[in-house]
Symmetry: none
Subunit: 149 residues, 4 copies
């Protein structure tokens, strides 16, 4: 007889880690000379931590949050969507209208040992710039977790 | 003299049937090894019954409901839209912005004797997966109604 | 030196348990002869499972979901709010406008060993009826978890 | 002849200051043993920086942001509203419905030399707790600006 499962365990990003990622992202932004908005959400897409660098474009505030939301709630980096959409016209014309879903670069799932714990979203430059900022932040995560081993 | 009609009859899916369809859909999902969100709405698109399989992506919760809503409120399977839009540019660029309308697969009207009684929407995989889950659920409906004859 | 915490563990209600609670709630509703809407959400308030009993009032569909959301996202039964508001005029006139917050009975946190795993919300009768339905469902949870010991 | 004015100068809170205020608020929250959501907005109410302490109630995420928004966009602490509403029935019953306006404690304007530069909002406890957290954060601002003299 199979066991009746009442609850499922999951992990969520801590504020301590979220703050470290924000700092690393803002550091990278300064280095690039571009003011970004940077959002960290937990694994279900709720806002965990946020920084708007000074003079970040107002439009970037919400896009950054939506990118982080998109990455966490489907466990997929936002830049990975377009390759899956481009030869699939119903998705290309349809999925893009999903509320809060962003299909261009700048949103990444945050994982520990391949387990989803949150998402990061960055906006303010071209999405290729936004992606560099995310990657700089996630590099810090790699360092932290490799130390932990 | 024409009759004065005061009210129009309609049929709506019962909770008993909706629950059977949810079970069949979740069964198919387990078999496929993908966690889906599954929504059943009544003929006017109001939520009747819903299940989120364990670990279903958060993004799928609303898409499943929107697919069921789309299917019931226009009496058309969501995967049938694109062929009707693709050579009609005003629709292709305009209709897709309709709130809650989904134009890719995974939403089906639920009918008895060709009469609309509700809709089912599934999300969590590629829409081709979502469609398989809907079809497994509607197969149960076929069995139930053919037995009824 | 204190340990750097990267993630926080939490538990979420399973679909298996959510389905059992829906069944128990609908059973109680039938016994009372009132058609209710019954919503189960996970610990962050996302919809997990839902049933609208046949002929449940349309208005109850969203209220049930909002009650479950309210109970889970503040870890407080909705009927406990009024006593805390009634002698605190700014809250009484202000808090009630919080989006999706319900301050009358019919929403309860779902807990295992005092740990929040979700919420249940019921609407369709007077809130005193809605509360009876929730309590019947939570009785099943008590039986399941006492057996588990 | 009166001068033709083409633009108006304003000051906005910097990310550096916003981050300091978040830290001071979270420090106070830890001391109190309550997990709060803390939001800092700029002078027009746009999100500047945000922290959700670990295990902050989901409901607090948006309330904190709305309190900060309310405080900055009307340049008034949220706890100051009720005294102005209570003997003015049209306002008491009407104004409270304004989207995002919070009329109970936990939101404060952030000022330098009496000039509005942003707002802080805190949610997670009773509003009297939320107010203590805001005040601890604003104390840091006082220290920073008195040192600057």
């Amino acid at each position: 007889m199979s066991e009746f499962i009442t609850a499922i365990e999951s992990k969520n990003i801590s504020l301590a880690l979220a703050t470290k990622l924000l700092e690393a992202a803002a550091e990278k932004g300064k280095e690039m000379g571009i003011p970004f908005s940077i959002a960290i959400v937990d694994r279900v897409g709720n806002l965990k931590a946020f920084s708007a660098m000074d003079n970040a474009p107002v439009l970037s505030l919400e896009i950054a949050q939506n990118k982080a939301f998109s990455a966490a709630t489907y466990n997929r980096a936002t830049h990975e969507w377009y390759d899956r959409l481009k030869d699939d016209p119903p998705l290309l014309h349809g999925l893009v209208h999903t509320e809060r879903l962003v299909i261009f670069g700048g949103g990444y799932p945050i994982k520990i040992n391949d387990e989803l714990i949150g998402g990061i979203g960055v906006s303010g430059g071209h999405y290729s710039h936004d992606m560099q900022v995310c990657e700089a932040a996630l590099e810090v995560l790699n360092e932290l977790t490799s130390k932990a081993v």
